[in-house]
């Protein structure tokens, strides 16, 4: 039945290419996007999770003239599939109102679905790479639609670099093993394998936006359409981590290597890079004024945590990484969609130009608020459970460097979260005439929040979902009930927190209802002993350059980061390129001299 899902998607891709009407295309793609989701939900039976039962088969081999592509489902792929494909329908629902006409968004979303499905199901490197590049292509076309030069150049360069590195790694593995099938590749603890794995991991890290390979992310996220960015940040960036997990943990040969890798510095390095990514990207997000760039840096930071988990490699860390991936998918998608709704109504992206949107768009605000709580890992949101697992893992492994860095990055998340809350949604009511976002958009956002709420109360269900992966990777599963997670170091009981919270809310609620209150106008307030006149415009919105004191201290250390290294590298390449150009100086005599010199040199070389 894999064939059927692929066929439906491909037909829908071609079909939607020729539909101009946005709503029709949206509904078609929405319906189509339910097919892979249903398939993945159904495949849960394989891993002991019965959600629905249709009876899809889960293996497929396509034979095309001497080349066979193998597809089958694995526990890791299943987890990622559930995550990514439950992300898509709400986004498509949101797009129902977001776009005015179908100019390529829907077909290429479907193409991305095809590629994601292919990547997740592939069980040999050829089909993996084929669909991997197809995904890169799909993303590029999505970026092309808005045609920002910086975004296109950076994305395509990085993407091609990643593709070539992955290809080289695959080729090396193939050369050493003589097979492309995951099941037959035995990774060995020798130098060539390490080179191959390093190349592959760098390739994956580019998609996963690990620092210092992240510089394509801010321009791309800040110039593309929000529904697509929601999927890119929430869903597709995880595919890079899927590749890493596949390589380091899920491949049958991976266990052989683990002994080597654990004793080496390699994965520790990955964890350190992940934590530094989280740290620096958080600081960059704190000072960013463009809402989309802020969210982009925040994405980079949150994705860094996943790398920490993968690098740490214990079962707690792995659970934390997967949990974090899942959470990030949903809260970041919600936030991007919320940013999109705000821009849909106000047309502004700069935080310093926004403000007071919450009063007119309360539903959008509520969705965004919940997502921000999850982002900042406020306890009992599922975001906390994920971070908590990662912290536990770092302490368990005694990572004295990584644990504080991660914790402080977590605190930094409060800073930029507040900037979103205050700068965009609260403060001065600058847009008194806007309306709430259209209903499909709101519905899309709330659908995205739903999984977060489920795993808020029952983080254990999430651990159930990853149990079969952990045991297939040879890691111990974590003892848990639906609402309690036990680790060797400590427990996290959501019911205790919720009950405690209800208990603690009693006095607060009593105080709240004790005396009546009346609503006053927003501008009716007290500034330095004066009541500002309503007629005289005073900006009461302190959103511009919000963290200036901190910025003054920190910025000197943040400058000269990856971007400046790349720009100096770019300048060097430019110089060399100019040199290469100068060879073709347009003088035919010079060209004739080149010809004669070439003749002399090769004749001399051959004779000698």
């Amino acid at each position: 039945m894999v064939e059927m899902v692929f066929a439906v998607l491909i037909i829908a891709f071609i079909f939607t290419l020729f539909i101009k009407n946005n709503r029709v295309a949206s509904i078609i793609s929405l319906v189509v996007s339910l097919f892979p989701l249903a398939a993945f939900l159904d495949w849960g039976r394989e891993f002991g999770i019965n959600l629905i039962s249709i009876g899809f088969e889960n293996t497929m081999n396509i034979n095309m003239a001497g080349i066979t592509l193998h597809f089958s489902i694995s526990p890791l792929a299943w987890f990622f599939g559930i995550m990514l494909f439950s992300l898509i329908p709400p986004i498509l629902l949101y797009s129902y109102s977001f776009f005015s006409k179908n100019d390529g968004f829907y077909p290429f979303m479907i193409l991305l679905m095809v590629s994601v499905m292919g990547i997740l199901l592939s069980s040999d490197f050829l089909s993996f790479f084929l669909f991997w590049e197809l995904m890169a292509l799909g993303i590029f076309i999505m970026i092309c639609r808005n045609g920002d030069r910086k975004a296109m150049v950076r994305y395509l360069s990085y993407s091609v670099l990643s593709g070539v590195l992955i290809l080289a790694g695959i080729a090396l593995l193939y050369h050493m093993n003589g097979t492309l099938l995951f099941a037959e590749i035995m990774l060995k603890a020798d130098f060539e394998t390490m080179v191959a794995i390093t190349m592959l991991i760098i390739g994956f890290a580019i998609k996963a936006a690990l620092m210092p390979l992240h510089t394509w992310v801010p321009p791309v996220y800040s110039t593309s359409d929000e529904p697509f960015v929601a999927f890119l940040s929430g869903g597709l960036s995880k595919i890079g981590y899927y590749g890493m997990l596949l390589l380091l943990f899920a491949m049958p040969g991976a266990r052989v290597m683990e002994a080597y890798i654990n004793s080496s510095i390699a994965t520790y390095l990955l964890a350190i890079i992940g934590s530094l990514t989280a740290f620096f990207a958080t600081f960059l997000a704190i000072f960013e004024d463009d809402l989309r760039k802020l969210l982009a840096y925040s994405s980079i930071a949150q994705l860094g945590y996943i790398a920490v988990g993968i690098g740490t490699g214990s079962s707690i860390a792995m659970a934390g990484a997967l949990f974090q991936a899942f959470n990030h998918a949903f809260f970041k998608a919600t936030l991007f969609l919320a940013a999109g709704s705000v821009a849909y109504r106000t047309g502004k992206w700069k935080i310093s130009e926004l403000g007071g949107v919450a009063y007119k768009m309360p539903l959008t605000f509520m969705a965004a608020l919940f997502a921000i709580f999850a982002l900042a890992a406020i306890p009992i949101t599922s975001g906390f459970a994920a971070k908590w697992l990662l912290y536990e893992a770092a302490i368990e492994r005694r990572y004295v460097f990584i644990a504080p860095i991660m914790l402080i990055a977590g605190v930094g998340a409060f800073l930029y979260s507040f900037r979103i809350l205050y700068g965009v949604f609260l403060g001065e009511n600058r847009y008194p005439d806007i309306k709430e976002a259209p209903k499909p958009m709101v519905a899309g956002m709330f659908l995205l929040v739903m999984p977060l709420i489920i795993f808020l109360i029952f983080p254990g269900y999430m651990l159930d979902m990853m149990d079969s992966f952990l045991s297939s990777a040879g890691l111990a599963t974590i003892s848990h009930s639906p609402y309690v997670i036990h680790t060797t170091l400590g427990n996290y009981n959501t019911i205790a927190v919720i009950v405690g919270m209800m208990f603690a809310m009693i006095p607060a609620f009593l105080i709240y209802v004790l005396r009546k209150q009346h609503l006053v106008d927003f501008e009716d307030n007290f500034i330095g002993g004066e009541i500002p006149s309503l007629y005289e415009h005073i900006s009461m919105h302190a959103a511009h350059n919000f963290y200036k004191p901190l910025k003054d201290v920190v910025m000197p250390y943040l400058e000269g980061g990856a971007t400046s290294i790349y720009s100096s590298l770019y300048k060097v390449v430019e110089k060399i390129a100019d040199g290469a150009r100068k060879i073709y100086d347009g003088v035919v005599q010079d060209y004739a001299i080149y010809v004669m010199l070439f003749l002399l040199i090769i004749a001399g070389w051959l004779l000698w």
Partner: protein, 443 residues
């Protein structure tokens, strides 16, 4: 059914010179190119099922003119004729002289591919070159003339050098038959080294390898889009195929090493020169140089790995079709219509090596091959050049995608058809089978 490969050359030549009598140049040319394409396809079918095809004209082999068609040659013939046909559709006003020159160029490019005689190859090179000079200068403005003159000077030097090489070869073996020479290569003395050097330099000018390719950017910049397109899939591809044969004839380790180093240099210089280029046609020309380097690298691996021939084929076809489409598109500032956008994106992606385009398989097999050889330098060069290439093509797309320019159907569809070819070839990798069955030449 017996197919005479000679018809592929003879018919266009005949009609080229009958053209002044026939008047309706466009219709006649289109019919001939279509006929040729079908003939080439039939020939390919025949060769694919029955093995290589020989045709002998006048004398018996070692002395007489000799045509030899194997799988790859037949496919290249199909490619050249098919692309020439599609490309010709995009020419709006066809003069008789133009049609003549066009047919000559196509016929001679096909001739280079299917001939089995080295002097014949020279003659076809010269016909291709003469018609290309005239076609490049077709616009008759300053730039076109300058490009044509540069091309002509270098081309003439090349022809002299090629002839010298042939003279050396002849004096050594008293034969001009490629397969005869190949079988007797062990008898050769030091003179064949010189002959290799002269032939490589001579053919290299046509095949755009560094540093013999000075004419490339200027001629492409000066020529009209459809001419640049013809140059990129016709004579230059035939030239690189001639180099492939040259390497097979003189199959020493030294010559492969030489091809590798020249290929890497061509790749890097071409891509770097394109990196900062603002003029679209010139950028595409530099990019062609880079791609030629990549193809040459794949040729240099012929001896060491089985992947080389497949990589060579996919790179060649992908580059021919995509560059053809891009040169056609370069006539206008932007893409405008959806068909043009489709053509532009698919072609660029094929050149960069994204699935499901043909270029993907080229990239896949060349890296597989390089890894099998454990040639780290090739990998490094390919990684670097791919990134540079991606950067300037992204820049190119970012400017062209935005420009809204209306294109007539005649201008918009031929590139789209070419792009579809690369797409189909990538999706249906039946070529894999073909390429594994037949070698470049098995005499």
């Amino acid at each position: 059914m017996v197919i005479h490969p000679v018809l592929l050359i003879a018919i266009p030549l005949l009609f080229a010179f009958l053209m002044p009598l026939l008047k309706r140049a466009k219709a006649v040319t289109i019919i001939i190119l279509l006929f040729n394409t079908l003939l080439a396809i039939l020939m390919f079918h025949n060769v694919y099922n029955n093995g290589p095809l020989y045709e002998i004209i006048a004398f018996s082999p070692p002395i007489g003119i000799y045509l030899y068609v194997d799988n790859i040659a037949a496919l290249l013939a199909v490619m050249i004729n098919l692309l020439a046909f599609i490309n010709f559709l995009s020419v709006e006003k066809v003069e008789i002289k133009f049609a003549m020159l066009y047919l000559l160029a196509v016929a001679s490019s096909t001739g280079i591919v299917i001939t089995g005689d080295i002097f014949n190859m020279f003659v076809f090179f010269e016909i291709a070159a003469v018609s290309s000079y005239a076609l490049v200068a077709w616009k008759r403005d300053k730039e076109a003339l300058e490009g044509a003159i540069k091309y002509m000077v270098l081309g003439s030097i090349a022809s002299v050098l090629m002839l010298v090489g042939i003279a050396f070869l002849y004096s050594e073996f008293r034969s001009l038959n490629i397969y005869d020479i190949m079988n007797r290569m062990d008898e050769g003395s030091v003179l064949i080294l010189l002959s290799f050097a002269f032939l490589l330099t001579g053919i290299g000018v046509e095949a755009e390898i560094f540093p013999l390719n000075g004419w490339v950017p200027d001629a492409y910049q000066g020529a009209a889009g459809s001419i640049a397109s013809l140059l990129s899939f016709g004579p230059s591809k035939a030239g690189i195929y001639a180099i492939a044969r040259l390497l097979m004839i003189f199959s020493w380790q030294q010559s492969y090493d030489l091809a590798l180093s020249v290929g890497i240099m061509t790749l890097l210089i071409g891509e770097l020169a394109a990196f900062r280029q603002e003029n679209v046609k010139r950028m595409l020309a530099y990019s062609s140089i880079g791609q030629m380097g990549l193809i040459l690298i794949s040729l240099s691996m012929l001896d060491s790995t089985d992947y080389a021939i497949i990589a060579f084929f996919f790179l060649l076809v992908s580059h021919a079709a995509s560059k053809g489409a891009l040169f056609l598109l370069s006539e206008r500032k932007g893409f405008g219509s959806n068909a043009s956008k489709y053509a532009g994106i698919v072609s660029v992606m094929s050149l960069i090596g994204m699935p499901p385009m043909a270029g993907f398989w080229g990239k896949w097999y060349i890296i597989m091959g390089a890894m099998q050889m454990e040639a780290w330098w090739i990998i490094a060069a390919i990684v670097f050049s791919s990134v540079v290439e991606a950067a300037y093509f992204a820049r190119y797309l970012s400017t062209t995608m935005q420009e809204e320019e209306h294109a007539s159907i005649i201008a918009a569809y031929p590139p789209a058809i070419m792009a579809t070819l690369t797409l189909l070839l990538g999706i249906l990798p039946f070529i894999y089978k073909i390429a594994t069955i037949g070698g470049v030449i098995n005499g």
